[in-house]
Symmetry: C2
Protein backbone atom coordinates (compact mmCIF):
# COMPACT_ATOMS: atom_id res chain seq x y z
CA UNK A 1 0.00 0.00 0.00
CA UNK A 2 2.63 2.45 1.08
CA UNK A 3 4.99 1.41 -1.70
CA UNK A 4 2.27 1.95 -4.23
CA UNK A 5 1.71 5.47 -2.91
CA UNK A 6 5.42 6.10 -3.17
CA UNK A 7 5.78 4.75 -6.68
CA UNK A 8 3.21 7.34 -7.71
CA UNK A 9 5.69 9.91 -6.39
CA UNK A 10 2.97 12.03 -4.84
CA UNK A 11 4.95 13.91 -2.25
CA UNK A 12 6.05 10.84 -0.31
CA UNK A 13 6.59 12.40 3.09
CA UNK A 14 8.10 10.60 6.04
CA UNK A 15 4.61 9.83 7.35
CA UNK A 16 4.10 7.44 4.47
CA UNK A 17 7.05 5.27 5.42
CA UNK A 18 6.60 2.26 7.68
CA UNK A 19 8.95 1.85 10.66
CA UNK A 20 10.79 -0.90 8.79
CA UNK A 21 11.92 1.64 6.18
CA UNK A 22 13.20 3.91 8.93
CA UNK A 23 14.94 0.95 10.51
CA UNK A 24 16.84 0.21 7.29
CA UNK A 25 17.64 3.89 6.87
CA UNK A 26 18.79 3.74 10.48
CA UNK A 27 21.22 0.94 9.57
CA UNK A 28 22.63 3.29 6.94
CA UNK A 29 22.89 6.22 9.34
CA UNK A 30 25.97 4.81 11.04
CA UNK A 31 29.41 5.49 9.55
CA UNK A 32 30.36 3.69 6.37
CA UNK A 33 28.81 2.28 3.24
CA UNK A 34 27.34 -1.19 3.20
CA UNK A 35 26.01 -3.75 0.76
CA UNK A 36 22.54 -5.21 1.26
CA UNK A 37 24.15 -8.37 2.53
CA UNK A 38 26.24 -6.46 5.05
CA UNK A 39 23.11 -4.61 6.20
CA UNK A 40 21.36 -7.94 6.67
CA UNK A 41 24.24 -9.23 8.80
CA UNK A 42 24.18 -6.10 10.87
CA UNK A 43 20.38 -6.17 11.27
CA UNK A 44 20.77 -9.71 12.59
CA UNK A 45 23.18 -8.45 15.22
CA UNK A 46 21.12 -5.41 16.26
CA UNK A 47 17.56 -4.78 15.04
CA UNK A 48 16.66 -8.43 15.40
CA UNK A 49 16.96 -8.31 19.18
CA UNK A 50 14.43 -5.55 19.76
CA UNK A 51 12.55 -4.79 16.59
CA UNK A 52 12.71 -6.76 13.40
CA UNK A 53 14.50 -9.62 11.74
CA UNK A 54 14.37 -8.63 8.09
CA UNK A 55 14.85 -11.04 5.20
CA UNK A 56 17.51 -10.01 2.67
CA UNK A 57 14.70 -9.46 0.16
CA UNK A 58 13.00 -7.03 2.54
CA UNK A 59 16.21 -5.12 2.99
CA UNK A 60 16.67 -4.80 -0.78
CA UNK A 61 13.03 -3.72 -1.17
CA UNK A 62 13.50 -1.01 1.45
CA UNK A 63 16.80 0.08 -0.14
CA UNK A 64 15.06 0.50 -3.51
CA UNK A 65 12.31 2.51 -1.86
CA UNK A 66 14.80 4.67 0.04
CA UNK A 67 16.86 5.23 -3.08
CA UNK A 68 13.78 6.26 -5.09
CA UNK A 69 13.01 8.79 -2.35
CA UNK A 70 16.53 10.18 -2.52
CA UNK A 71 17.18 9.09 1.06
CA UNK A 72 19.88 6.59 0.08
CA UNK A 73 22.38 6.42 -2.75
CA UNK A 74 24.29 3.48 -4.11
CA UNK A 75 27.33 2.88 -6.26
CA UNK A 76 28.67 -0.21 -7.93
CA UNK A 77 32.13 -1.39 -7.18
CA UNK A 78 34.72 -0.84 -9.88
CA UNK A 79 36.68 -3.42 -11.86
CA UNK A 80 39.23 -3.73 -9.04
CA UNK A 81 36.75 -5.86 -7.08
CA UNK A 82 36.65 -9.57 -7.85
CA UNK A 83 32.83 -9.47 -7.74
CA UNK A 84 30.54 -6.58 -8.53
CA UNK A 85 28.90 -5.23 -5.39
CA UNK A 86 26.52 -2.38 -4.78
CA UNK A 87 27.23 -0.26 -1.73
CA UNK A 88 24.60 1.90 -0.12
CA UNK A 89 24.93 5.05 1.92
CA UNK A 90 22.52 7.53 3.42
CA UNK A 91 22.19 10.91 1.71
CA UNK A 92 22.01 14.27 3.47
CA UNK A 93 18.30 14.35 2.66
CA UNK A 94 17.88 10.89 4.13
CA UNK A 95 19.76 11.83 7.25
CA UNK A 96 17.60 14.91 7.73
CA UNK A 97 14.39 12.94 7.20
CA UNK A 98 15.51 10.21 9.60
CA UNK A 99 16.49 12.75 12.24
CA UNK A 100 13.11 14.43 11.85
CA UNK A 101 11.33 11.10 12.22
CA UNK A 102 13.44 10.10 15.22
CA UNK A 103 12.87 13.38 16.99
CA UNK A 104 9.47 14.65 16.01
CA UNK A 105 7.21 11.66 15.55
CA UNK A 106 4.76 11.52 18.43
CA UNK A 107 4.54 8.87 21.09
CA UNK A 108 6.69 5.92 20.13
CA UNK A 109 3.84 3.62 21.10
CA UNK A 110 3.91 0.55 23.30
CA UNK A 111 6.05 -2.48 22.56
CA UNK A 112 4.31 -5.20 20.60
CA UNK A 113 4.86 -8.61 22.13
CA UNK A 114 3.64 -11.89 20.67
CA UNK A 115 4.74 -14.65 23.00
CA UNK A 116 3.54 -18.01 21.63
CA UNK A 117 4.81 -19.86 24.69
CA UNK A 118 2.71 -17.81 27.11
CA UNK A 119 -0.28 -18.31 24.81
CA UNK A 120 0.22 -22.09 25.20
CA UNK A 121 0.55 -21.79 28.95
CA UNK A 122 -2.63 -19.70 29.07
CA UNK A 123 -4.31 -22.65 27.28
CA UNK A 124 -2.60 -25.10 29.62
CA UNK A 125 -5.93 -26.66 30.65
CA UNK A 126 -5.86 -28.31 27.21
CA UNK A 127 -2.23 -29.39 27.28
CA UNK A 128 -0.32 -32.31 28.60
CA UNK A 129 1.58 -30.88 31.59
CA UNK A 130 4.82 -32.63 30.64
CA UNK A 131 4.61 -31.36 27.07
CA UNK A 132 4.03 -27.85 28.39
CA UNK A 133 7.07 -28.12 30.65
CA UNK A 134 9.18 -29.22 27.68
CA UNK A 135 8.03 -26.17 25.73
CA UNK A 136 9.16 -23.87 28.53
CA UNK A 137 12.50 -25.65 28.72
CA UNK A 138 12.95 -25.36 24.94
CA UNK A 139 12.28 -21.66 25.28
CA UNK A 140 14.90 -21.34 28.01
CA UNK A 141 17.49 -23.12 25.85
CA UNK A 142 16.71 -20.91 22.84
CA UNK A 143 16.84 -17.75 24.96
CA UNK A 144 20.26 -18.75 26.32
CA UNK A 145 21.50 -19.11 22.74
CA UNK A 146 20.14 -15.68 21.85
CA UNK A 147 21.72 -14.14 24.93
CA UNK A 148 25.06 -15.39 23.72
CA UNK A 149 24.44 -13.74 20.34
CA UNK A 150 23.53 -10.44 22.01
CA UNK A 151 26.73 -10.60 24.05
CA UNK A 152 28.79 -11.37 20.96
CA UNK A 153 27.27 -8.34 19.23
CA UNK A 154 27.96 -6.22 22.30
CA UNK A 155 31.59 -7.32 22.32
CA UNK A 156 31.97 -6.34 18.65
CA UNK A 157 30.45 -2.88 19.26
CA UNK A 158 32.41 -2.26 22.45
CA UNK A 159 34.55 0.82 22.88
CA UNK A 160 33.64 2.52 19.60
CA UNK A 161 32.30 6.02 20.22
CA UNK A 162 30.14 6.06 17.07
CA UNK A 163 28.31 3.02 18.37
CA UNK A 164 27.44 4.38 21.78
CA UNK A 165 23.66 4.28 21.30
CA UNK A 166 23.60 0.85 19.64
CA UNK A 167 25.55 -0.34 22.67
CA UNK A 168 22.88 1.05 25.00
CA UNK A 169 20.26 -0.80 22.94
CA UNK A 170 22.30 -4.01 23.06
CA UNK A 171 22.79 -3.72 26.81
CA UNK A 172 19.01 -3.34 27.10
CA UNK A 173 18.67 -6.48 25.02
CA UNK A 174 21.19 -8.36 27.17
CA UNK A 175 19.17 -7.53 30.29
CA UNK A 176 15.94 -8.30 28.47
CA UNK A 177 17.18 -11.80 27.66
CA UNK A 178 18.31 -12.32 31.26
CA UNK A 179 14.85 -11.23 32.41
CA UNK A 180 13.22 -13.57 29.88
CA UNK A 181 15.18 -16.46 31.42
CA UNK A 182 14.08 -15.51 34.94
CA UNK A 183 10.48 -15.17 33.80
CA UNK A 184 10.55 -18.62 32.22
CA UNK A 185 12.07 -20.21 35.34
CA UNK A 186 9.42 -18.58 37.52
CA UNK A 187 6.70 -19.80 35.15
CA UNK A 188 8.05 -23.34 35.38
CA UNK A 189 7.85 -23.11 39.18
CA UNK A 190 4.27 -21.81 38.92
CA UNK A 191 3.31 -24.67 36.60
CA UNK A 192 4.86 -27.19 38.98
CA UNK A 193 2.88 -25.59 41.79
CA UNK A 194 -0.43 -26.30 40.06
CA UNK A 195 -0.32 -29.85 41.39
CA UNK A 196 0.74 -33.25 40.24
CA UNK A 197 0.99 -33.79 36.50
CA UNK A 198 -2.34 -34.70 35.03
CA UNK A 199 -4.46 -32.72 37.45
CA UNK A 200 -4.97 -29.87 35.10
CA UNK A 201 -6.41 -32.12 32.42
CA UNK A 202 -9.14 -33.33 34.77
CA UNK A 203 -10.63 -29.91 35.38
CA UNK A 204 -14.39 -29.93 34.85
CA UNK A 205 -15.39 -29.39 31.26
CA UNK A 206 -17.35 -26.41 30.16
CA UNK A 207 -20.57 -26.14 32.11
CA UNK A 208 -22.89 -25.26 29.27
CA UNK A 209 -25.94 -23.32 30.27
CA UNK A 210 -27.97 -25.23 27.74
CA UNK A 211 -27.72 -26.78 24.29
CA UNK A 212 -26.47 -24.37 21.69
CA UNK A 213 -28.40 -24.06 18.50
CA UNK A 214 -27.62 -22.12 15.40
CA UNK A 215 -29.67 -19.01 14.69
CA UNK B 1 -5.86 -15.65 2.37
CA UNK B 2 -6.59 -18.24 4.96
CA UNK B 3 -10.22 -17.23 5.22
CA UNK B 4 -10.57 -17.58 1.48
CA UNK B 5 -9.17 -21.09 1.67
CA UNK B 6 -11.63 -21.88 4.40
CA UNK B 7 -14.63 -20.47 2.60
CA UNK B 8 -13.85 -22.93 -0.19
CA UNK B 9 -14.30 -25.61 2.46
CA UNK B 10 -11.41 -27.67 1.14
CA UNK B 11 -10.54 -29.71 4.19
CA UNK B 12 -9.67 -26.74 6.36
CA UNK B 13 -7.36 -28.42 8.80
CA UNK B 14 -5.94 -26.77 11.89
CA UNK B 15 -2.77 -25.96 9.94
CA UNK B 16 -4.72 -23.44 7.89
CA UNK B 17 -5.72 -21.40 10.90
CA UNK B 18 -3.59 -18.50 12.08
CA UNK B 19 -2.68 -18.29 15.77
CA UNK B 20 -5.22 -15.48 16.19
CA UNK B 21 -8.04 -17.91 15.36
CA UNK B 22 -6.72 -20.33 17.96
CA UNK B 23 -6.47 -17.50 20.44
CA UNK B 24 -10.16 -16.63 20.00
CA UNK B 25 -11.08 -20.32 20.19
CA UNK B 26 -8.94 -20.37 23.33
CA UNK B 27 -11.06 -17.58 24.82
CA UNK B 28 -14.08 -19.82 24.20
CA UNK B 29 -12.42 -22.88 25.75
CA UNK B 30 -12.93 -21.62 29.28
CA UNK B 31 -16.24 -22.27 31.05
CA UNK B 32 -19.28 -20.33 29.94
CA UNK B 33 -20.74 -18.74 26.85
CA UNK B 34 -19.79 -15.25 25.83
CA UNK B 35 -20.80 -12.54 23.41
CA UNK B 36 -18.26 -11.05 21.04
CA UNK B 37 -18.16 -7.98 23.24
CA UNK B 38 -17.50 -10.06 26.35
CA UNK B 39 -14.74 -11.90 24.50
CA UNK B 40 -13.19 -8.56 23.56
CA UNK B 41 -13.28 -7.44 27.21
CA UNK B 42 -11.68 -10.66 28.28
CA UNK B 43 -9.03 -10.55 25.55
CA UNK B 44 -8.14 -7.08 26.81
CA UNK B 45 -7.56 -8.54 30.27
CA UNK B 46 -5.56 -11.57 29.14
CA UNK B 47 -4.36 -12.06 25.55
CA UNK B 48 -3.42 -8.43 25.23
CA UNK B 49 -0.64 -8.73 27.78
CA UNK B 50 1.31 -11.46 26.01
CA UNK B 51 -0.05 -12.01 22.55
CA UNK B 52 -2.62 -9.89 20.83
CA UNK B 53 -4.96 -6.99 21.35
CA UNK B 54 -7.78 -7.79 18.94
CA UNK B 55 -10.28 -5.26 17.67
CA UNK B 56 -13.93 -6.21 18.18
CA UNK B 57 -14.20 -6.58 14.40
CA UNK B 58 -11.32 -9.10 14.39
CA UNK B 59 -13.01 -11.10 17.12
CA UNK B 60 -16.26 -11.23 15.15
CA UNK B 61 -14.37 -12.20 11.99
CA UNK B 62 -12.67 -15.06 13.83
CA UNK B 63 -15.96 -16.13 15.41
CA UNK B 64 -17.57 -16.36 11.95
CA UNK B 65 -14.64 -18.39 10.71
CA UNK B 66 -14.72 -20.70 13.72
CA UNK B 67 -18.47 -21.16 13.40
CA UNK B 68 -18.17 -22.00 9.70
CA UNK B 69 -15.63 -24.66 10.65
CA UNK B 70 -17.95 -26.10 13.27
CA UNK B 71 -15.50 -25.18 16.03
CA UNK B 72 -17.88 -22.73 17.67
CA UNK B 73 -21.64 -22.45 17.91
CA UNK B 74 -23.82 -19.49 18.73
CA UNK B 75 -27.34 -18.83 19.83
CA UNK B 76 -29.39 -15.68 20.00
CA UNK B 77 -30.88 -14.59 23.27
CA UNK B 78 -34.62 -15.04 23.64
CA UNK B 79 -37.32 -12.39 24.10
CA UNK B 80 -36.62 -12.26 27.85
CA UNK B 81 -33.49 -10.22 27.17
CA UNK B 82 -33.93 -6.47 26.81
CA UNK B 83 -31.53 -6.51 23.84
CA UNK B 84 -30.83 -9.30 21.41
CA UNK B 85 -27.41 -10.80 21.99
CA UNK B 86 -25.53 -13.64 20.35
CA UNK B 87 -23.65 -15.91 22.69
CA UNK B 88 -20.81 -18.11 21.49
CA UNK B 89 -19.48 -21.38 22.86
CA UNK B 90 -16.90 -23.88 21.76
CA UNK B 91 -18.13 -27.18 20.29
CA UNK B 92 -16.74 -30.60 21.07
CA UNK B 93 -15.08 -30.56 17.65
CA UNK B 94 -13.57 -27.17 18.39
CA UNK B 95 -12.29 -28.31 21.76
CA UNK B 96 -10.67 -31.37 20.19
CA UNK B 97 -9.06 -29.30 17.43
CA UNK B 98 -7.77 -26.72 19.91
CA UNK B 99 -6.36 -29.41 22.18
CA UNK B 100 -4.63 -31.00 19.20
CA UNK B 101 -3.16 -27.65 18.20
CA UNK B 102 -2.07 -26.84 21.74
CA UNK B 103 -0.41 -30.20 22.23
CA UNK B 104 0.88 -31.36 18.89
CA UNK B 105 2.00 -28.30 16.96
CA UNK B 106 5.78 -28.23 16.79
CA UNK B 107 8.08 -25.71 18.35
CA UNK B 108 6.07 -22.76 19.59
CA UNK B 109 8.65 -20.44 18.06
CA UNK B 110 10.41 -17.48 19.60
CA UNK B 111 8.57 -14.46 20.97
CA UNK B 112 8.17 -11.61 18.52
CA UNK B 113 9.12 -8.29 20.05
CA UNK B 114 8.79 -4.92 18.35
CA UNK B 115 10.01 -2.30 20.78
CA UNK B 116 9.75 1.15 19.16
CA UNK B 117 11.42 2.82 22.14
CA UNK B 118 14.57 0.71 21.87
CA UNK B 119 14.60 1.40 18.12
CA UNK B 120 14.67 5.13 18.92
CA UNK B 121 17.44 4.65 21.46
CA UNK B 122 19.44 2.65 18.93
CA UNK B 123 19.10 5.71 16.66
CA UNK B 124 19.97 8.01 19.55
CA UNK B 125 22.84 9.59 17.64
CA UNK B 126 20.12 11.40 15.67
CA UNK B 127 17.97 12.38 18.61
CA UNK B 128 17.92 15.19 21.07
CA UNK B 129 19.07 13.57 24.32
CA UNK B 130 16.37 15.28 26.38
CA UNK B 131 13.65 14.21 23.97
CA UNK B 132 14.99 10.65 24.15
CA UNK B 133 14.91 10.75 27.94
CA UNK B 134 11.30 11.92 27.84
CA UNK B 135 10.40 9.00 25.60
CA UNK B 136 11.87 6.54 28.09
CA UNK B 137 10.00 8.23 30.93
CA UNK B 138 6.74 8.11 28.95
CA UNK B 139 7.34 4.41 28.45
CA UNK B 140 7.88 3.91 32.17
CA UNK B 141 4.63 5.72 32.99
CA UNK B 142 2.69 3.68 30.43
CA UNK B 143 4.20 0.43 31.67
CA UNK B 144 3.20 1.29 35.26
CA UNK B 145 -0.38 1.76 34.07
CA UNK B 146 -0.33 -1.58 32.27
CA UNK B 147 1.12 -3.29 35.33
CA UNK B 148 -1.88 -2.06 37.29
CA UNK B 149 -4.20 -3.53 34.65
CA UNK B 150 -2.39 -6.89 34.80
CA UNK B 151 -2.75 -6.89 38.59
CA UNK B 152 -6.43 -6.04 38.35
CA UNK B 153 -6.94 -8.94 35.95
CA UNK B 154 -4.99 -11.21 38.28
CA UNK B 155 -7.17 -10.19 41.21
CA UNK B 156 -10.32 -11.01 39.22
CA UNK B 157 -8.99 -14.46 38.24
CA UNK B 158 -7.69 -15.25 41.72
CA UNK B 159 -8.74 -18.41 43.52
CA UNK B 160 -10.80 -19.92 40.70
CA UNK B 161 -9.60 -23.43 39.85
CA UNK B 162 -10.75 -23.26 36.22
CA UNK B 163 -8.54 -20.22 35.71
CA UNK B 164 -5.33 -21.76 37.04
CA UNK B 165 -3.40 -21.54 33.78
CA UNK B 166 -4.58 -18.04 32.89
CA UNK B 167 -3.35 -17.05 36.35
CA UNK B 168 0.09 -18.50 35.58
CA UNK B 169 0.12 -16.50 32.34
CA UNK B 170 -0.96 -13.33 34.17
CA UNK B 171 1.69 -13.81 36.86
CA UNK B 172 4.22 -14.14 34.01
CA UNK B 173 2.87 -10.88 32.62
CA UNK B 174 3.06 -9.16 36.01
CA UNK B 175 6.74 -10.10 36.30
CA UNK B 176 7.31 -9.16 32.67
CA UNK B 177 6.00 -5.66 33.32
CA UNK B 178 8.15 -5.34 36.44
CA UNK B 179 11.17 -6.41 34.36
CA UNK B 180 10.21 -3.91 31.65
CA UNK B 181 10.29 -1.14 34.27
CA UNK B 182 13.73 -2.23 35.51
CA UNK B 183 15.03 -2.43 31.94
CA UNK B 184 13.82 1.09 31.21
CA UNK B 185 15.38 2.49 34.39
CA UNK B 186 18.68 0.81 33.54
CA UNK B 187 18.51 2.22 30.02
CA UNK B 188 17.95 5.71 31.40
CA UNK B 189 21.05 5.30 33.54
CA UNK B 190 23.03 4.11 30.50
CA UNK B 191 21.84 7.10 28.47
CA UNK B 192 22.81 9.46 31.27
CA UNK B 193 26.21 7.76 31.35
CA UNK B 194 26.90 8.65 27.72
CA UNK B 195 27.94 12.12 28.81
CA UNK B 196 26.47 15.52 29.18
CA UNK B 197 23.35 16.26 27.15
CA UNK B 198 24.25 17.33 23.67
CA UNK B 199 27.42 15.31 23.40
CA UNK B 200 25.82 12.57 21.41
CA UNK B 201 24.64 14.98 18.75
CA UNK B 202 28.18 16.19 18.13
CA UNK B 203 29.54 12.78 17.18
CA UNK B 204 31.38 12.90 13.87
CA UNK B 205 29.09 12.60 10.93
CA UNK B 206 29.38 9.78 8.48
CA UNK B 207 32.92 9.57 7.12
CA UNK B 208 32.06 8.93 3.51
CA UNK B 209 34.70 7.12 1.56
CA UNK B 210 33.94 9.25 -1.43
CA UNK B 211 31.06 10.91 -3.23
CA UNK B 212 28.31 8.47 -4.04
CA UNK B 213 26.95 8.40 -7.52
CA UNK B 214 24.01 6.59 -8.94
CA UNK B 215 24.69 3.62 -11.20
Amino acid sequence: MTSRQISRKQDPGPDDLPPTAWAVLGLLSFPGERTGYELKKWADASLRFFYWSPAVSQIYAELRRLESLGYAASRRSGPEEPRTKRQYAITEEGRAALAEWADSAGDTGPPVLKHPLVLRVWLGHLADPERLRERVEDHIARTRGELKEVRDALARAGGVADWAHPQVALRWSERQHLAELELAEAMLADLDGLGTPGTSTTLPRQSARGPLTQG
